[in-house]
Symmetry: C2
Subunit: 139 residues, 2 copies
C-alpha cells in the first residue's frame, strides 16, 4: 500500500468512514443522496481492469456490501454504481442509493448539480451505519 | 438461465455481440462512443449485490475483459463503468471507452443526448473485435 494517498478532490468532497480490506470507504458530503465512494488503496491505479483478478473481486464484494446497506435505508429502491474518473483519475467507485423522486431522478447523480453538504446529524447517522460494515468485513 | 429475456429497451438500443459465460454482451448502437453493455443472463435480477459472490466476481471479470479491449482502441484514454438502471431495471453494466474531446467529455455519457446510430462499417468493426472476446473467454 506504499504511496497511496487520497486524491485531494475526493478528500474535499467526502467524509472518511474508514478502511475495508481493499478500499478506503468515504461518505460523499451530499445530503441529496446517500452516496458512498470506495477507493482501492493502491497508488497509481486508474482503471478497474488494471487490478489483479482477486482484487477486482474484492472491490466488487466491498461495493456489494455497501450497496446492500444503502439499499436498506428508508425509501431507497435502487442502487447506482459507477466508476467514471474523467475528472478525478484515481480509481474510485460510486455506490449511490436512489429513490424515485429524488432531486436527480431518473438521471444519474453525476453532473446533477452542486452537492448540498450534510448537516452534522445526518452525517453522524450515515457514518455510524457505514462503520458497522467495517466490523462486518473484518469478522 | 430459465426465463431470461433481454429488456426490450436494451434490445432496441444495441446490437448483439454474443454470450460470455455469465453475460449477454451487447454493443450500444451509438457512433459517439465505443460502448458495450453486459447483461447477466439471470431472470428477475436488478442489483449487483443480489448476485451470489462467484457471479459478482464473474461479472466484474467480464466487464474488465471488455474494458481492456475498449481501452486498446485508438484514442481511448479512459474507461467508464456504470450500473444504473433507473429507467431500465434489468441489471446491465455499461463499459464505455472515452477520449478527451468526445461529445460528452468530461461528463458521463448517460443523459448526454440522443444516440447516433452506427453505420454498418463501424458496427462490423466493433462487433468483430468484441466477438474475439467471446473466444478468449471460452479458451
Amino acid at each position: 500500500l506504499a504511496g497511496f494517498a487520497l486524491h485531494p478532490q475526493l478528500e474535499a468532497d467526502t467524509r472518511l468512514v474508514g478502511d475495508l480490506p481493499l478500499c478506503r470507504l468515504l461518505l460523499m458530503d451530499d445530503a441529496r443522496f446517500p452516496w458512498a465512494i470506495l477507493v482501492p488503496r493502491r497508488a497509481g491505479l486508474f482503471e478497474v481492469h488494471h487490478l489483479p483478478a482477486a482484487e477486482r473481486s474484492q472491490l466488487v464484494a466491498e461495493a456489494a456490501l455497501v450497496a446492500q446497506w444503502l439499499g436498506g435505508l428508508p425509501g431507497i429502491t435502487k442502487i447506482n454504481h459507477g466508476a467514471i474518473g474523467n475528472m478525478v483519475p484515481q480509481l474510485h467507485w460510486h455506490v449511490v442509493g436512489r429513490l424515485a423522486g429524488d432531486s436527480a431522478w431518473p438521471a444519474p447523480v453525476w453532473g446533477s448539480g452542486p452537492r448540498v453538504p450534510l448537516d452534522d446529524r445526518q452525517a453522524a447517522l450515515l457514518l455510524a451505519g457505514l462503520r458497522t460494515l467495517l466490523e462486518d468485513a473484518r469478522g
